[in-house]
């Protein structure tokens, strides 16, 4: 009979009301020597630069203020670290919603299916839009684009589906338009999704990450959504992130020549929505062989470990990418994945590689 486990930690608040201890409780918070320069820190209302010459532009987190006598300044509007680019001043707040730039790789969830577009929640101020015209359809389907209706749309993506996509452009009112016009993008199945702070998943060091030895793949969305799934080789059913990989797999198993496919459609879906049996054109896939599983226990352990490591990086405000995950992962090996949930264990593991992580992530 399995034992129940789990600890209860109780503390009494100081009678004078000081609750600094509570901070320890809620976050793995370690006080350490400060290494951020004072002149990098700005709070709303702070003057960043004099802009009378007009050479600066106010980027995110700052604004432009004109004073009498043609004197103007760039002023901070959030609390965070200042960054200066060639002509733009930016203040990076500690916490904010994803705002979106063209070219960002994002992971989002379909909220609504329309006649010619899907509404996608990517955690931004407004929902993003994926137009029917912005996805790749198998050749046979292109003809039907003009007859699009909601039933047709649902064959590809339904409410609740997860997709990986790229930001194509910003429309009016800052609404993001997405596309999946590449083999890298598409519907995500059989894995798990995490949410972290978007400021830790900025564009840069590789967003499609594959840890071959663990049998685990990740997509690190710039919008702070992290998708973790087994790699193709570990799975018996070729559902997964990388449609290009699926394509190769499909061809290896003697399926007919197929138009470039981006979206993964299962046989189950096709049947559900009454798709015609165009087995020569559709990606009908074999049923999961009886007795097999999506992911073995070993792979699941790796995924759990990665999940818990990503959560630690998120709490500790460390940028999340291939290297930082790997560093923390290696350091965590002496513990079971579930032990990383215990605050004291997480703290110990993190401290052991704090220096290495810092070297990986110099700030501007």
């Amino acid at each position: 009979m399995a034992a129940v486990s789990g600890e209860v930690m109780v503390q009494r608040s100081a009678a004078d009301g000081s609750q600094n201890d509570d901070v320890e409780m809620r976050e793995v918070h370690i006080s350490k020597p400060n290494t951020v320069r004072n002149d990098q820190i700005y709070i709303p209302g702070d003057i960043i630069l004099d802009n009378t010459e007009g050479q600066w532009m106010d980027g995110h987190g700052s604004y432009y203020s004109v004073l009498p006598g043609n004197h103007s300044e760039i002023i901070a509007s959030v609390a965070g670290l200042r960054q200066i680019f060639t002509r733009v001043v930016v203040v990076d707040p500690l916490k904010s919603r994803y705002s979106g730039e063209i070219g960002d790789i994002v992971v989002g969830r379909i909220i609504q299916v329309g006649r010619k577009s899907w509404t996608v929640d990517v955690g931004a101020q407004r929902h993003a839009v994926l137009n029917l015209g912005a996805i790749n359809l198998p050749g046979g389907e292109l003809r039907r684009k003009t007859e699009a209706d909601i039933g047709f749309m649902r064959r590809y993506l339904q409410e609740g589906d997860l997709v990986s996509a790229e930001v194509q452009k910003q429309g009016a009112d800052s609404q993001l338009l997405l596309h999946t016009r590449s083999l890298r993008y598409g519907r995500l199945v059989q894995g798990m999704l995490l949410h972290v702070q978007p400021r830790l998943t900025k564009r840069g060091k590789g967003h499609f990450v594959s840890y071959e030895t663990f049998g685990v793949q990740l997509i690190i969305g710039v919008n702070g959504a992290v998708w973790i799934a087994p790699t193709q080789k570990q799975m018996n059913v070729p559902l997964g992130l990388d449609a290009g990989e699926q394509q190769r797999r499909v061809q290896q198993e003697d399926y007919p020549e197929e138009e470039e496919i981006t979206l993964c459609i299962t046989e189950e879906d096709a049947k559900k929505f009454g798709a015609k049996d165009k087995s020569k054109e559709h990606t009908t896939l074999p049923q999961k062989p009886a007795g097999s599983s999506i992911a073995s226990l070993e792979v699941r352990k790796c995924m759990a470990r990665i999940k818990n490591c990503v959560e630690i990086l998120n709490r500790e405000q460390v940028p999340i990418h291939r290297e930082s995950i790997r560093i923390l992962y290696d350091a965590s090996r002496r513990y079971e994945p579930k032990e990383l949930l215990i605050p004291s264990v997480a703290k110990e593991v993190f401290e052991s590689v704090r220096q290495d992580l810092r070297e990986q992530n110099p700030t501007a």
């Binding site: 916490k95 101020q125 009112d173 609404q175 405000q317």
Partner: protein, 248 residues
């Protein structure tokens, strides 16, 4: 009961006339909120939470509340006194008649410092709940709300802080505690942008002669300056700690 000892010149809690109470903050206590702060000024404890900006769902097709659509800096504020926050438990919470007034003061203040939303139907919701009521509630709520907005990363032009003041035997006292509130003395609370000393809102309590207004205002505004210096440091330290984890 003498609020200011004629012997020591100190107030009941040991402060001088021109001293505000100790301020402490914890950021991000309500993880589901976009921004939150547990704010303490002396024994007054307030939880401020912010959601947004988010799509209020009103779009052009809606017969929605047009006031929301047309107001580009839409912010809705709420002020609540918890039932357990005071000595006597209040049996009907949230029906404090001043709660709505305080909420409006807050909205007025934050509208001044917020920028127009990118999207006309976006809205920000800010709520202040008093967990422990030891005086200076509106003042503390104004300051706490600003901190919650900052925690949420919502851009603002500057900071708003609040402070209260009262006057005893001609002596103005800044940052009024509940003990000092008992005697129906003239009281004032201001919401201020400290950097340029702009007073955005002013609330008065109990009647008093107009000659007292100037010293009361002066004390309250000076109290705001002190408050600002404290929270300025708190916010900078918070940024330093959070961002400094990974800088080289």
């Amino acid at each position: 009961m003498d609020l200011v000892s004629s012997f020591t010149g100190l107030r009941l809690d040991g402060r001088r006339e021109n001293e505000i109470r100790d301020i402490r903050c914890q950021f991000g206590v309500a993880k589901e909120a976009d921004g939150s702060v547990l704010f303490e000024q002396g024994n007054t404890k307030i939880l401020a939470t912010v959601y947004g900006p988010f799509d209020s769902g009103d779009n052009d097709d809606d017969d929605g509340d047009l006031a929301v659509l047309e107001d580009p800096t839409a912010i809705e504020c709420e002020f609540k006194l918890s039932a357990f926050s005071q000595q006597d438990r209040r049996t009907r919470q949230g029906e404090d008649p001043r709660s709505e007034e305080y909420a409006e003061y807050m909205e007025t203040c934050y509208r001044v410092i917020m920028f127009p939303h990118k999207n006309a139907s976006s809205i920000v919701r800010l709520s202040c709940q008093v967990l422990q009521a030891d005086g200076g509630h509106l003042a503390a709520a104004l300051t706490a709300g600003t901190l919650a907005l900052i925690d949420a990363g919502i851009p603002v032009k500057d900071l708003i802080v609040g402070c209260s003041a009262t006057v005893v035997e001609g002596k103005p006292l800044m940052d009024v505690s509940s003990q000092e509130d008992l005697q129906r003395l003239p009281q004032i609370t201001v919401g201020v942008i400290p950097r340029n000393q702009e007073i955005i809102v002013m609330d008065t309590k109990n009647r008093f002669h107009k000659d007292l207004l100037a010293p009361l205002l002066d004390a309250a505004v000076k109290g705001c300056t002190q408050t600002f210096q404290v929270i300025e440091k708190i916010v900078r330290d918070h940024v330093r700690k959070a961002a400094g984890a990974m800088s080289s």
